[in-house]
Amino acid sequence: MSTQVREKQPLWRQLFTSQIGKKLLTGLTGLGLTLFVIVHMAGNLSYFAGNEAYNAYAHKLLSLGPLLYIAELGLLAFFVFHIVLGVNIYLGKRKAREQGYKRYKTAGGQSKQSLSSRSMIVTGVILGVFLVLHLVSFKFGAYYEAAESIDGKPVRDLARLLNEKFQSPLYAFGYSGVMVLLALHLRHGIWSAFQSLGATNPRLTPLIYTLGALVGLLIAVGFFILPLWIFFTGGNA
């Protein structure tokens, strides 16, 4: 008479393979990555306080040593999970509708379907490719030594690298363009993550959606004013 109890799956399998667990993880990693890009963006803005301030900020991060490695490993794990799940969800949806519609139109109204929501996989994959190119250009890019030193230790002149790279229109506009895609990814992403975590209700949803889109936009603007400013003004002396 009573509900058949299936063999209870171990926690990790429920998390990684159930349709709810996958969303929890995409949402959690997505929000984690969002926090990371906010901190990264704020750090970048120290450039506007001068080359020295910027180099000092980068130096401080680097001198965290093992702490930094742990943070970087965590970040890498977030990216890997987020990407694997995002791609898995995309491939799954293609299988779930093998034959598509001849005509398809959103009903509008309560729907949150938008260019943003439909292109998560595209903006996501571009962000992933960009991430690799970005690390190669900067983190693993040319090493210049700054004239100043901190506590007698040599300091990397990252500001000079920035000033050089963003003279190029390809870099300046390429970076800015990708940041617009980040804004698109986050316009649907931030609200979606809250919904994935069950942290929404009909009264909160419009607020979360609007704030999410705004945060996405602010992050993008915070990022791309730097390359554009360097490109158009020549950057800090």
Binding site: I89, A96, S117, S196, T200
Partner: protein, 248 residues
């Protein structure tokens, strides 16, 4: 009014399908969409052709069988309206309409516009009920239920299982259906004893059936003829986390 139709015709589950073009003259604006199809089918029968197979039963918006995607929208252009409740006055004389079946791997086409929605029944069998011994009805008011919870449970119970949520979802996810079925029981005292098992089993079954994952497009809520809220999906996720962490 005259309506030009492009209707999906498919002889059987494993047969290839195609659009056939039909012209229906003298359509009255007061006809329902299904009555317009009745007229078309009479026309086809008189011409000695095979009528278009489509599902319907109550024709009053409560059974959930009249499933058609009309010009790319499940149940057509009007909000909170099942195809049987859609009237031709919502269209213009001379309109060209594409009519397709629900498209989802979990809802295979049986014939023309009729799809097999047994997947929903199997999800229900996995837990969409409460196990109670029948007997005398309990005294009214012997189990107090908060009015807000009762109303909310009723809103979720309005789900007619038509599958428009799946049809309209870009991912062909069944999350709104499953969320509604879960929420309507978990808001009520009778739903509590099996609450954890229910959410785990039903969520599992929806995956087994081959529905896609939810990407929170919220298209389901927009096409639902009963206007069921995606708050039910959020509630399903909260319940799943609780069940995941529960000891039993």
């Amino acid at each position: 009014m005259t309506i030009y139709l492009n209707v999906w015709r498919q002889e059987g589950p494993d047969k290839p399908g195609r659009f056939e073009t039909y012209t229906v003259p003298d359509v009255s604006p007061d006809m329902s969409f299904l009555e317009m199809f009745d007229v078309l089918n009479e026309q086809l029968t008189l011409e000695g052709k095979e009528p278009v197979e489509f599902d319907h039963d109550c024709r009053e918006g409560i059974c959930g069988s009249c499933n058609m995607v009309i010009n790319g929208q499940a149940h057509g252009p009007n909000a909170r309206t099942a195809t049987c409740q859609l009237h031709m006055r919502s269209f213009k004389d001379g309109d060209t309409l594409f009519v397709e079946p629900w498209r989802a791997s979990a809802f295979p086409v049986i014939k023309d516009l009729v799809v097999d929605r047994d997947a929903f029944d199997r999800i229900m069998e996995a837990g969409g009920y409460v196990s109670v011994n029948t007997g005398n009805a309990p005294d009214a008011n012997s189990i107090p239920i908060d009015k807000v919870a009762a109303d909310s449970a009723m809103d979720y119970a309005a789900c007619i299982g038509c599958g428009a949520c799946v049809a309209a979802c870009p991912n062909a996810s069944a999350s709104l259906f499953v969320g509604a079925k879960l929420a309507h029981l978990s808001l009520l005292p009778q739903g509590q004893p099996e609450r954890n098992r229910r959410v785990v089993n039903m969520v599992h079954q929806m995956k087994e059936e081959g529905f896609g994952d939810c990407s929170n497009h919220a298209e389901c809520e927009a096409v639902c003829p009963k206007g069921i809220s995606i708050a039910g999906i959020a509630a399903m996720r909260r319940d799943y986390v609780k069940a995941m962490l529960a000891a039993d």
